[in-house]
Amino acid sequence: MSDTSTEYDSDIEAAIRANHPALITYITAGDPSLEDTEAYVEALDRGGSDLIELGLPFSEPIAEGQTIQAAINRALAAGTTPEGFFELVEDLEIEAPLLVMTYYNMILQYGGSEAPRASEEASGQRPRAKPDVRPFVERAAEAGLSGIIVPDLPAEEADPLRDACDDNGLDLIFIIAPTTEGERLDAIMSRVSGFAYVQARLGTTGARANVSGATHDSLARLSKYDVPKAVGFGVSEGDHAAEIIEAGADGVIVGSALIDIIASSDDPSDAVDALEAKAAELKRGARRGAETLTDDPEDTPEPEQP
């Protein structure tokens, strides 16, 4: 795992810039069990992931499509808890920095009146204080996470979490939708750190057969901001990754296509090799896109590697 230091310094931005074009992979923690997730994350790391998003499951995932919703349901049925999630993060031995993707209520409720210790099971009801983002962020930093992404937290409501992340050296990643323009875009980009998550199309997450034209428009709108841009929502194959990098992205984000592999494995351990192979395919695709860019003098490539 990457170090966490009290001084703000983006492991995530560094990882994306150093490994350009970057592959960012997502799976849901606890699907189908936390033990399997550990093996899967390590396989994604070996396969060439430059950054790994790990979903902390929430019962009402309104931004997700059916694939990730099903993964979340499996993880919750397996008894995945926030504390189990953090312990998994502490156990992982990987190169890539890790970020947690979860919904705002999970962040608000963590710890209740006092943060539970690792050994403390969710037994009985604690007296509940007003919701507070800090116990979650502090625990995330302690566990070794590098950033947080919250699909139901727009920039307008994010100042408490932004402050807590700054104080704990964590990046806060925001999603840029095809509908995000003008002043809103400026407002979000002034709060983002690590990278901008570019939503390839309207709708929810889920693997699609092709890359949307909205991706090109979004990347064009974002070109003036000096933050890495990674594109997700619908990316499932090496060719998509190539196309997205060719369109000017610094990275591609893949989730549902990996979860499809997990969901279709008869034995959970069968998925490990397939996940590693899929990550490698996606990374190769991304590299191919970058090569096409540098081969064509008409196109100006996105930021040079540091």
Partner: protein
């Protein structure tokens, strides 16, 4: 409708918050749509641009059947030895207060140039009202409804389809209102540029809680005028059932500044007020009474949730109250002591249903039956002049009532089995 009264905006700050509650917690793709809706709400609803509110009120009168009566309930008054009045929202077109909001929002969507209407529904009353409003205003309409609710509210499914709406059953989770809202939000996130989502209660991200309340506030405004005309004064208490809270806020809003009027929000106590965290279930929907603060479906409000933040499945014999959240404004009014949260269990609600049916010849919705159950339990504390909002009629609930009554030994129930066939 009352003369222009000063709105009590003391607790409404900018950005649609009520004290600690409200806000906009939605995926980024929806934020521009909320901004667009907020602008339209301010222009058309608050400022009556292009005569929007005039058209809305005219349509509510001619299509909707407003004003609805405030009826003195003679036998209930005799039973409880005090003056009991019923606000007859069951007599509104479609059979529930839901039309006030649905017609307002569909008309607003039309003014905004949207091409398509989507909505979620629990008991089907909001879906029915939306389907009727969409047919009336010639807009295509799709309704999401949990599979469990499709099965227990079939008459409303038929009515929606009769009015030309597509009904999409949702299979996830407990397949009730919470899941239907999730699915409608997903549809909206995909089609937001041309679609308006008609949220069915005073829940969701700003401006919905405030806007829906304003469309529903006509209930309380009428009660205020009608009770003064009939009884010569304001009531001592106003009682309304609360699920998401749209009829509750609609009934209470005009009375919030009147400190002498006690406001009771009656929730579904279900079979127990305890939460089973192991099973992720609350056998009740008593969010104001037992919930804790958190974020669900776009707003900070009181929720039924487990200690780690997972939303639990709620329960009520009434599909229309079966929801793990509640409107943020109600959460705030409860916190500051202006609204008293209360609850009655499934049995008392069913008794309320049978009692009103037999004593007054009014078959109330199971939602409203909770308010009537509370009246029976607590009338001695409610003062001499009490208004109960009958938020809807109970035709849609007959199958549920027959089935649930047969299982129980209910004091107010008639002999159900004698009319079996």
């Amino acid at each position: 409708m009352s003369t222009e009264r000063e709105r009590d905006d003391e607790y409404e700050s900018g950005g649609g918050t009520f004290g600690d509650y409200g806000g906009q917690y939605v995926p980024e793709a929806l934020m521009p749509a909320l901004q667009e809706l907020e602008d339209a709400y301010e222009r058309y609803v608050l400022e009556n641009e292009d005569g929007f509110m005039d058209e809305f009120r005219e349509r509510m009168r001619d299509f909707g059947g407003r004003p609805t009566p405030l009826q003195r309930a003679d036998r209930l008054s005799e039973r409880y030895d005090r003056e009991i009045y019923l606000k007859r929202e069951d007599l509104l077109h479609g059979g529930a207060h839901k039309l006030n909001n649905a017609l307002g929002q569909v008309l607003l969507a039309k003014y905004m140039g949207k091409e398509r209407i989507i909505a979620e529904t629990g008991a089907g009353q909001h879906g029915t009202a939306t389907a009727m409003a969409a047919a009336h205003l010639d807009m295509p309409c799709e309704i999401y409804m949990g599979r469990t609710d499709v099965n227990r509210q079939r008459p409303n499914v038929y009515r929606m389809r009769m009015n030309g709406a597509e009904v999409n059953p949702v299979e996830a989770g407990s397949a009730t209102l919470k899941e239907a809202i999730n699915e409608t939000m997903r549809d909206w996130a995909t089609t937001v540029e041309r679609t308006h989502y008609v949220i069915g209660s005073v829940v969701g991200p700003h401006p919905f809680p405030q806007m829906v309340r304003d469309f529903q506030a006509v209930i309380g405004e009428e009660i205020r005028d009608q009770i003064q005309a009939k009884a010569g004064r304001l009531p001592d208490s106003v009682v309304a059932c609360a699920g998401g809270g749209s009829n509750t806020m609609g009934t209470f809003h005009a009375f919030v500044p009147d400190e002498g009027v006690d406001l009771y929000a009656v929730e579904a106590g279900g079979s127990s007020l305890e939460i089973d965290e192991e099973e992720g279930m609350a056998p009740n929907s008593a969010t104001l009474s037992t919930g804790t603060d958190g974020v669900l479906h776009g707003a900070m409000t009181k929720l039924l949730q487990a200690g780690d933040g997972q939303i639990v499945e709620s329960h009520s014999v009434s599909a229309g109250l079966d929801y793990a959240g509640v409107g943020p404004e109600l959460s705030h009014l409860v916190d500051i002591g202006r609204v008293t949260p209360a609850n009655v269990d499934d049995d008392d609600a069913l008794n309320g249903f049978h009692r009103l049916s037999r004593l007054e010849g009014i078959i109330p919705a199971l939602e409203s039956s909770h308010a009537l159950g509370y009246l029976e339990e607590e009338y001695e504390t409610l003062g001499d002049l009490v208004v109960v909002n009958v938020s809807g009629r109970g035709d849609k609930d007959l199958e549920t009532v027959l089935e649930e009554t047969e299982k129980r030994d209910l004091e107010a129930a008639p002999e159900i089995e004698v009319f079996d066939g």
